[in-house]
């Protein structure tokens, strides 16, 4: 089994299936009264978060605790830690000296988990790095899609919005393309540069054009703090052209899934009524995140067997 999970590039479709199948087995544990498993007893997992994200951190923390691992939380603002105090590398070495078995890292700088993996012996799990990747989000999204559509092959998935700055989009496109899905990136060229076509996805500028054909409409968060960069004229215009409102929802297939990595800007990329419609599986995504993260921790830390040998 892989030592680190840094990018969806590492995973073959067989790997993804193993991760999702394992998550499915683990999902049942979350429905029973005793939700804890002894599997990772004695293992230590560190959540190293240089960007605030309570949701992702809690999900990882709970996943590790459900498997009986000890959990350390280390949060730092990446900017302040550069200006003063301990460097990223010193922090890594400190954690290494404490004997952690896995470091779950979220960082504002693309590639930070990759660098970290070269400094420590522990397993490194990328919980989101800069504008690069967020593989566990992609895996839980794949899991959620697979719950509804047995086969991801040929599934038509539109990813709508700020692909350029989105680590969620990068990981999802890679995962979906690996699984044989048909991915369409929708948004203005300020948010979807032409190089994205090299990922094996199609590019379109008009959401209305693809409404009838898609099985999944994956909406990316509009990062309001990027407003100053003049990527589009106004939130109002964005909502009118690329926001998913109930009028657009009505034109889509009845079994279409509406997904969003959260947190949502209601009234911008997603209409309030759409987020609460039965087609929206946004809350399932959150619940499935726990099972997928348990699965990854189990598969990565469950053993150190080099040859992948299984029990007799």
């Amino acid at each position: 089994m892989m030592k680190h999970l840094l990018s969806m590039d590492q995973l073959s479709s067989a790997d993804i299936v193993t991760i999702l199948d394992t998550a499915e087995s683990l999902r049942s544990v979350t429905d029973r009264p005793i939700k804890k498993l002894p599997t990772l007893r004695g293992r230590t997992v560190c959540n190293l978060f240089y960007e605030a994200s309570t949701r992702t951190r809690i999900s990882f923390e709970l996943a590790a605790k459900r498997l009986s691992a000890d959990v350390i939380n280390f949060s730092a603002d990446s900017k302040s830690s550069v200006a003063k105090g301990e460097s990223f590398k010193d922090t890594a070495w400190t954690l290494e000296a404490m004997g952690v078995d896995a470091i779950i890292v979220r960082h504002g700088s693309s590639g930070a988990p990759h660098q970290l993996s070269q400094w420590v012996k522990a397993s490194v799990l990328n919980a989101g790095d800069g504008q690069h990747e967020h593989p566990t989000q992609a895996l839980l999204d794949l899991y959620s899609m697979r719950e509804h559509f047995k086969d991801l092959e040929g599934l038509k998935v539109a990813i709508v919005g700020d692909v350029l700055h989105s680590r969620v989009a990068r990981s999802n496109v890679k995962g979906l393309v690996t699984m044989g899905a048909d991915v369409i990136l929708i948004g203005p060229p300020t948010l979807i540069p032409p190089q994205a076509a090299t990922w094996g996805a199609r590019i379109g500028y008009d959401l209305d054009e693809v409404l009838e054909e898609i099985d999944v409409c994956y909406l990316l968060r509009v990062q309001k703090e990027r407003q100053s960069e003049q990527l589009f004229p106004s939130l109002r215009e964005y909502a009118a052209l690329w926001g998913l409102d109930s009028r657009r929802l009505a034109r889509m297939k009845p079994e279409v899934l509406v997904m969003h990595p959260g947190p949502m800007n209601r009234g911008v990329e997603i209409g309030a009524d759409v987020s609460e419609s039965p087609r929206s599986i946004i809350l399932d995504q959150v619940a499935n995140g726990l099972a997928v993260r348990m699965s990854l921790l189990y598969l990565m830390l469950g053993g150190r067997s080099e040859d992948g040998e299984v029990f007799e």
């Binding site: 460097s87 693309s110 590639g111 930070a112 790095d129 504008q131 990068r170 540069p193």
Partner: protein, 437 residues
């Protein structure tokens, strides 16, 4: 002062059109005589059979960190690194702390260079006060100072304001001094960490488009035409810029250009490991750009190979990619990279390599370093084994900083001896700093 007889080397001296096996007698700081077989006449004989004897190398683009960050590189340590790399002159960039924008600073740099005594230290001056691109630096005072500054640049930044660029160019014509530009439109490049393209998109890093360089190169060429100022484009890195320069020169514009060893050796593929040592500005570009730079070095569009030697302390580079400052050291690897990447694969001749590393840059700066190596000429000489293999080992670099992505790379081409004004500064690859003081 000692007399040295370099016996049996292949003398390549583009300035005199010589490329043949001959001896070279160095005496009193000058080349005393050359010939097929010279008499020893009491000189120390250094057997250089199989090696190349060429005019000393000249680096147009060296960042020293003195004054300001002497922990990273002093003028003395940069001089030692330069000598080890076969250099006999370096042009120091003005982005020190304080910025070299006045006669006092450039004279200090010049004096420290003299004191180190290993290479000619030619101080470049800033174009603008504090390199802020707003007010002219003390250009005339720097020209007239003992440092005799002839190249002005705000390197590290491009001059963003076109009117200011025009005014400075006009003013520089007074002294026939050089306006040297770090071509980068900062609005287009804002926040960029690597070349903008497929790879930056995949790696999730904000890109610097080629156009950020090309727009400013084109603007400066237009302004050079308008003003008649001598223009030098620093570290050009894209196929587009090379083409812009090629056309301008065909039109007779007074523009020269340099390229760095890393831009002709590496591409943005290097960034896939997120190695901060591969972070430079301008960024490593695509394979197509790299090949175009090699072509422009070969066909004469580019005049000089310049290192953009930029030392950074380990603690500055050993951080998240985003926070690492751009730059790599280069003085001690440039000759070997030129030989390994350009000469040995057959892209350029040995003679062309010496033109790019010595003759071209020395002409731009008006130095005697680039030869000819004939009787009575100052003896700035490098002797190198063009085939000598060595592996880049940070522990053996003389620069105080070891930030280079070439660590562990096996290179072909090794400096044996360097003579600066007739004095041996490097013998058998060892810098003779102690003997000079």
């Amino acid at each position: 002062m000692s007399r040295y007889l370099l016996r049996g080397g292949r003398v390549i001296d583009p300035a005199s059109g010589v490329d043949e096996r001959r001896d070279l007698l160095i005496e009193e700081g000058v080349v005393a005589s050359t010939g097929a077989t010279l008499d020893e006449a009491g000189a120390e004989v250094i057997d250089v059979a199989g090696a190349v004897v060429a005019p000393g190398l000249v680096d147009l683009h060296t960042h020293v960190r003195e004054p300001g960050r002497e922990d990273e590189e002093t003028i003395a340590s940069a001089s030692a690194a330069a000598a080890a790399g076969g250099y006999t002159a370096i042009c120091t960039m003005p982005n020190t702390d304080p910025i070299a924008d006045s006669a006092a600073i450039v004279e200090k740099v010049w004096a420290l260079g003299r004191e180190a005594g290993l290479v000619e230290v030619v101080a470049a001056g800033a174009l603008s006060k504090g390199q802020r691109g707003e007010k002219m630096a003390d250009i005339g005072e720097m020209v007239r100072s003992v440092a005799r500054v002839r190249l002005f640049t705000d390197d590290g930044h491009g001059v963003q304001n076109s009117l200011f660029a025009r005014r400075v160019m006009e003013y520089l014509v007074t002294f026939d001094a050089i306006y040297a530009e770090h071509c980068e439109d900062e609005a287009l490049a804002a926040g960029g960490m690597m070349h903008e393209g497929e790879r930056s998109m995949a790696l999730g890093m904000r890109g610097i488009p080629s156009e950020a360089e090309e727009l400013m190169a084109a603007r400066d060429i237009a302004l050079a035409k308008l003003t008649g100022c001598r223009l030098h484009l620093l570290h050009i890195s894209t196929a587009g810029t090379a083409e812009i320069v090629r056309r301008a020169r065909a039109e007779g514009v007074r523009v020269t250009a340099e390229a760095t060893p890393h831009h002709f050796s590496l591409t943005d593929a290097e960034l896939e490991s997120y190695d901060p040592n591969a972070k430079v500005n301008p960024p490593l570009r695509t394979e197509e750009d790299r090949a175009a730079i090699v072509g422009a070095l070969a066909d004469g569009t580019i005049d000089a190979i310049a290192t953009d030697h930029a030392p950074h302390a380990l603690e500055e580079k050993d951080v998240e990619f985003q926070y690492a400052p751009p730059g790599m050291v280069g003085l001690e690897t440039s000759l070997a990279l030129t030989l390994t990447e350009l000469v040995h694969p057959g892209h350029i001749s040995l003679t062309r390599a010496i033109e790019l590393l010595s003759v071209g840059p020395s002409r731009i700066l008006g130095l005697p370093q680039g030869g000819p190596l004939t009787s009575g000429d100052p003896a700035h000489v490098v002797v190198f084994d063009p085939d000598g293999e060595w592996t880049v080992d940070p522990a053996r670099l003389r620069s105080l900083c070891k930030n280079t992505p070439f660590v562990g790379r096996k290179l072909r081409g090794r400096v044996l001896h360097t003579f600066f004004a007739g004095r041996l500064t490097v013998r058998d690859g060892v810098v003779l700093a102690g003997e000079l003081v």
